[in-house]
């Protein structure tokens, strides 16, 4: 009776002790120096592993920072607080973290955009996109099936009742996972300070856009002429703002015939007012 318990105990315990001893010796023998700085940097990072900094993981970024290969203000999730913490560890100036927000460059809601067929498949934009580019006549617009919503680790992007995705400025960290997964490439990362945005991704000619979407860019070039900073250009029949020079003046907004250009602050204040 005693033996039935004692022998297994001794055998397994003995094996455990023996292997443990060998491993303990090996860990001494093969000890690898870890940069203590790297460990400190890693502890200061939020550990979201979202890749927003351009590295595969927080560990990889911590290593790069500790070795001086990366700037300390790359962590978008941690923002200014983490940048300052890293600055304290590395003994440098924090600088400012440029926060970028994912913007869905489309306002082609169910009311605005014309559908070409009824889609009854899997609720996944990539699947829908495989069926002749999705159910919208516009082949550049948001399909609104929420693939971005599902990959977002921060719950920051949602498909609205009108059938297009919209990002939540408060929650978005600019990690870019939705940007990568979107089959239409309709999501862009834009500096949060830029408030005037052309919400269209359609490169069709104006006449075609008129037929398929009420709010699409018809390439009339009025905004290009209105812009005092000359930062709006026509790219294949789509007006595009070079955000580096944009001053949020909004001069392009009033004359846009299809109301494709919007000022985010005005939208937000309208929502608050209503």
């Amino acid at each position: 009776m005693i033996q039935e318990i004692l022998y297994p105990l001794l055998v397994l315990g003995g094996m455990g002790l023996l292997f443990g001893a060998v491993l303990a010796y090996a860990s001494q023998k093969f000890y690898v120096e870890v940069n203590p700085l790297q460990q400190k940097v890693r502890d200061a990072l939020p550990g979201a592993n979202d890749g927003g900094c351009g590295f595969a993981s927080c560990d990889a970024y911590a290593q790069a920072v500790a070795e001086g290969r990366a700037d300390i203000n790359k962590c978008v999730v941690g923002g200014q607080a983490v940048a300052e913490a890293l600055a304290a560890i590395m003994g440098t100036d924090a600088g400012t973290v440029k926060k970028r927000i994912a913007r869905v460059m489309c306002k082609g809601t169910d009311n605005n955009a014309v559908k070409k067929y009824k889609y009854h498949g899997v609720k996944d934009c990539r699947a829908a996109n495989a069926l002749s580019g999705g159910d919208k006549e516009c082949e550049f617009g948001c399909l609104g099936l929420g693939t971005c919503e599902r990959v977002c680790p921060f719950d920051a992007i949602h498909v609205t009742a009108e059938g297009i995705a919209e990002s939540d400025e408060e929650k978005c960290t600019g990690c870019g996972m939705c940007v990568d997964v979107c089959p239409k490439n309709v999501i862009q990362l834009i500096d949060i300070s830029k408030r005037v945005i052309i919400f269209c991704n359609n490169h069709d000619k104006g006449k075609r856009v008129r037929q398929i979407c009420k709010v699409g860019c018809i390439a009339c070039s009025i905004c290009v002429r209105q812009c005092p900073e000359k930062v709006i250009t026509m790219d294949n029949d789509l007006a595009v703002i070079n955000y580096d020079g944009c001053t949020n003046c909004g001069a392009c907004i009033p004359r846009c015939p299809t109301k494709t250009i919007l000022n985010l602050d005005e939208i937000i204040s309208e929502v608050v007012a209503s």
Partner: protein
């Protein structure tokens, strides 16, 4: 005697290939086969772990477990051996080749739960092998594993450059490739 060992070797490398005939250890097979270099590193680690596992588990089984009538502890005892060996290999690789360590990533600790390694240990005690035969079988199995993994990595390196239909890019083509390679190994059936 020698012919017997040769037969075991050939059978474990080609006929009963763990990856392509027994379908054990598929996780690293699909995971680390994107580059020949990492596949080779993984293979060397598996060869070491598998051969050592075959030797140590044989000794443990016939000199400790059987005399005490503890055969029912085989799985747990073998897992302890494998886990320790993998830990050991991980330390050695981390020390000797940091780049390989980075490239193997999660798959290195996963050898611990690689069913091919445990499979070698368990199949060895099921067959009436003596010590040398058991070690040769473990070594042959791991060489077969390495053989399949590296040749498959070679195929995938070429596949990455080939113009294949968009829908088949990445994993679909990898799985089809694995299936074809395994069909190729089917040709060795009946060799031994």
């Amino acid at each position: 005697m020698l012919t017997n060992l040769l037969l075991i070797l050939v059978s474990s490398i080609f006929v009963n290939n763990f990856l392509l005939s027994r379908f054990l250890g598929e996780c690293p097979f699909l995971g680390v086969s994107k580059q020949v270099e990492t596949a080779t590193g993984m293979s060397v680690a598996v060869v070491f772990v598998m051969t050592m596992t075959a030797a140590i588990t044989y000794l443990i089984n016939y000199y400790i477990l059987v005399p005490f009538g503890l055969e029912y502890l085989q799985i747990i005892a073998f897992i302890v051996v494998i886990a320790s060996l993998v830990q050991f290999v991980e330390m050695v690789i981390k020390k000797t080749s940091p780049t390989l360590y980075q490239a193997l990533g999660i798959y290195l600790p996963l050898i611990t739960t690689n069913c091919a390694v445990l499979g070698v240990a368990l199949l060895n005690v099921q067959n009436p092998y003596n010590f040398i035969e058991a070690v040769v079988n473990g070594f042959g199995s791991s060489v077969g594993f390495a053989f399949a993994l590296i040749s498959y990595a070679g195929i995938r390196e070429r596949l990455a450059l080939a113009p294949i239909p968009k829908a088949l890019e990445g994993f679909p083509s990898a799985l089809i490739g694995a299936g074809l390679l395994s069909l190729g190994f089917l040709g060795f059936r009946g060799l031994v």
